[in-house]
């Protein structure tokens, strides 16, 4: 295809991506080094019979004029990145010298909002990705073991947790684990503690969020593995049997090698999706116990005072995180395909 024709075909799609993905990244970068204007303060002299006093008042008009003239705010460089709500460099230094040991230090570090959010996001990604892949694999094996006729309805039911809107799926689970819901009641009965409530406990909240994550992403792994199992080379399986391979050896040397590429693909997609975990925290109303990076940005953006600069700085750090997560894939692609494609 000629360069010119290629350009015309790509134009609509590329324009949309440049305008609404590439430029916003630039916009986020710029916003993150500007802070909102401080209020303009004027000194007023009040003279009475007993002499003059000066007091300071906020000049509302001048403040508004300044904010309208320069909506970006004032340039502050990397100050927002290093403040308490983000990288908190000075606080970390203080914590390090004040804390008694590494455990104490980590505990205090996680109380800083950015590190807390980062810790939850990484824990969530690190647990949900492998667990949902394993669960999906076992489901695929079980569906593969039932007669063909029954598989359709089973696939239908299994797809539901993944297809449903994340906010809605998380709400449905949340209402069930509510202290007055069926699962909440069951947990209270099991623990023998009538006051047990997911809403009040940080570890339980984390566990529930992770359970939701596994519930909602296992179907994807299931579908991919199920499709993979249909294409396992039957000839190799049968010749392995003739050669005397046991059941386990057939799985180990024929089935698993066939499924490994699928697993890499799935892990990549799931890591990207889990890293942006956001809706369940809104649904579970979990902000007091667990925050993710995405939720951190969302809560800065919402509300009466929109903290655009703070949200922008977190966004830049999150994008960096995504690039770091993807870097093994990018490097591998660079090495293998990059040379061959030209």
């Amino acid at each position: 295809m000629k360069h010119r024709t290629f350009l015309w075909f790509m134009l609509p799609s590329a324009t949309a991506m440049v305008l609404f993905i590439a430029l916003p990244i630039v916009s986020v970068l710029i916003q993150s080094v500007y802070a909102p204007h401080e209020q303009v303060i004027r000194e007023v002299e009040n003279c009475t019979l007993f002499g003059c006093t000066t007091s300071t008042v906020i000049d509302q008009e001048a403040t508004r004029a300044l904010r309208e003239a320069e909506p970006l705010g004032r340039f502050v460089g990397t100050a927002i990145y290093t403040d308490r709500n983000h990288l908190a460099l000075s606080q970390i230094g203080a914590l390090w010298s004040a804390s008694s040991g590494i455990g104490d230090f980590t505990g205090k570090l996680l109380n800083l909002p950015f590190y807390g959010a980062l810790a939850f996001t990484l824990t969530y990604t690190a647990l949900v990705t492998p667990l949902s892949i394993i669960l999906g694999f076992v489901i695929a094996l079980s569906v593969n073991a039932v007669p063909r006729l029954m598989r359709g309805p089973m696939i239908f039911v299994s797809l539901l947790p993944m297809i449903v809107t994340p906010l809605v799926g998380a709400l449905i689970l949340f209402w069930m684990v509510d202290a007055r819901g069926i699962l909440g009641a069951a947990m209270q009965a099991l623990a023998g503690d009538p006051d047990l409530s997911v809403k009040a406990s940080t570890p339980l909240m984390w566990a529930m969020l992770i359970v939701y994550g596994i519930w909602s992403s296992a179907p994807f792994a299931f579908v991919v593995y199920y499709a993979g199992l249909q294409t396992v080379p039957q000839d190799s399986l049968e010749s392995a049997m003739i050669d005397g391979a046991s059941r386990w050896e057939r799985i180990r040397y024929v089935v698993i090698p066939h499924l490994v590429p699928l697993t890499t693909f799935m892990a990549l997609i799931k890591i990207m999706d889990n890293f942006r975990v956001f809706e369940p925290i809104v649904s579970f109303n979990a902000a007091a116990h667990a925050q993710s990076l995405s939720f951190f940005i969302y809560s800065d953006l919402g509300g009466e005072t929109r903290l655009l600069s703070s949200a922008a700085a977190t966004s830049v750090l999150t994008i960096l995180g995504v690039v770091i997560l993807l870097s093994p894939v990018l490097v591998r692609t660079w090495r293998s395909f990059g040379k061959g494609a030209a």
Binding site: V164, I182, Y298
Partner: protein, 294 residues
């Protein structure tokens, strides 16, 4: 069909797998059935302090409304809180997003699948990085310019933003789909004197529908399920369904109103059920498209 020898399993293994499958099916389906049933009860029954069985039998529903089931939650959400307006907005957003993304995506995907040059490959890698970025990070980039240019709050803004966020995924899927259509097809049309666009128009478009329908389903899901973009970029009167549900949670914690959220959750889920029911095959093939081909 007879069982292949290689498929025979020891009885214990078969029993374990069947038991596991039953357990999973309950875990996957029960929450939906429970919520559907509960949405026709009053709040005192669905969130029962006394006994969780109340949500099934519904003594308070019987006492308060005189019947075993009540549509009060649905009435409150759809009529009183004007959920129908949100449903209409969702319809507009979703239909526009699907149509525009597919138009942009088929053109771009076709070009990417037919270009032998290296930049086509790198464009796909850039799209992969874009695909990985959480949408909310982009939203924080939109807000200030959109406020400045008075673009904030309108449906078309949200639509075009969703189209753009959808593009990386659409491009990937359609590119891999177009690669499976033999190059000879459009190249022979060009030998016969068609221009590249004519070849696309008369030869590729008639055979591309299965892939386009599958991709369209996923664009639909992305637009329908979105919360980050629609919650931050739409004004209150233009809200779509998902942010509307979130707003039920925030403001209406008074007695009975939580049932508005429950009934609207059921309303939002119903179309998705139908979607899976009718398009299960396409969804499964779409999910595995990238994976099985490697």
């Amino acid at each position: 069909m007879t069982t292949r020898i290689a498929d025979r399993r020891p009885a214990a293994l078969q029993l374990f797998l069947t038991g596991f499958l039953v357990l999973w099916l309950i875990i996957a389906a029960f929450p939906f059935l429970w919520t559907l049933w509960g949405s026709f009860k009053v709040e005192g029954d669905f969130f029962s302090k006394a006994d969780w069985m109340n949500a099934l039998t519904g003594p308070l529903t019987q006492a308060e409304t005189g019947a075993a089931f009540t549509g009060a939650g649905y009435w409150g959400a759809w009529v009183q809180e004007e959920f129908w307006r949100a449903a209409l907005n969702t319809l507009i957003v979703v239909v526009s997003v699907v149509c525009i993304s597919l138009t942009f995506g088929t053109l771009g995907g076709y070009a990417l699948s037919r270009s032998p040059y290296r930049y086509a490959f790198w464009l796909l890698i850039v799209a992969l990085v874009f695909r990985a970025m959480p949408p909310i990070t982009l939203v924080s980039g939109y807000l200030l310019p959109f406020f400045q240019w008075n673009l904030w709050g309108h449906l078309p803004t949200a639509i075009i933003v969703l189209v753009a966020i959808n593009q990386p995924f659409t491009l990937w899927m359609l590119t891999s789909f177009f690669r499976n259509i033999p190059k000879d097809l459009d190249e022979s049309a060009m030998v016969d004197g068609c221009s590249r666009f004519q070849a696309f128009r008369h030869v590729i478009i008639p055979v591309m529908w299965p892939g386009v329908i599958t991709t369209g389903l996923f664009s639909f899901l992305l637009a329908y399920n979105d919360f980050a973009v629609t919650a931050m970029l739409l004004s209150k009167e233009n809200q779509t369904m998902v942010p509307k549900i979130a707003s039920f949670l925030g403001t209406t914690q008074t007695k009975g109103n939580v049932m508005f959220a429950v009934s609207s959750v059921v309303s939002v889920t119903a179309p998705l059920f139908l979607l899976v029911l009718f398009f299960q095959r396409q969804i499964v093939s779409g999910l595995t498209a990238g994976a099985v081909k490697g």
